[in-house]
Amino acid sequence: MNDPWILLPFWYPIIAVLVILMAGSTIRLYKGPTPADRAVAVDTVNTLTVASLILLGVAFREIIFIDVAIVYSLLSFVATLFIAKYLGGEL
């Protein structure tokens, strides 16, 4: 039986680059002078995580894994809004 998934060799290196970028924005989380800078760094990590989740779902050949990315992006949005509400003093 032939596999309908055509193997492409470049998913994992791209994911490795995205994870290295997450480590790079962790530097801003460490240095950032104000809490808002740290919130921006966490937001960047969330965006990169959603992108790498979509690519990982394809690399694992599981379609149901893509749904996790949708749920994850909406939940991280809730966390970002909560941090912003606290910073603005409206909580």
């Binding site: 994992y12 490795a16 989380l29 460490y30 990590v45 995580t49 749920v71 991280s76």
Partner: protein
């Protein structure tokens, strides 16, 4: 072999963010680093092919725990050692 590299990088990121959570004296920054730890451990569960655990970890660890920590920081004090 190549598929192990993202996993090791994510594990290193977990150690770094846990150390940052311990390091910060500003408790809001510590709560943010703890949220980052939750997001990364959710990604690690995903890499280990457990998407249901990843969803529940993202919901509870990232959304709910960060919110509860921030409410606690607002109710007490912003910096460690402050009365």
């Amino acid at each position: 072999m190549i598929e192990l590299i993202p996993q090791f990088l994510v594990l290193a990121g977990l150690i770094i963010s846990a150390a940052l959570t311990y390091h910060f004296r500003d408790l809001l920054a510590a709560a943010l680093a703890s949220g980052l730890f939750s997001f990364l451990i959710s990604l690690e569960f995903y890499i280990l092919q457990a998407p249901d655990v990843a969803i529940s970890q993202a919901a509870v660890g990232a959304g709910l725990t960060t919110a509860i920590f921030i409410i606690a920081v607002r109710a007490t004090g912003r910096f460690e050692g402050e009365n």
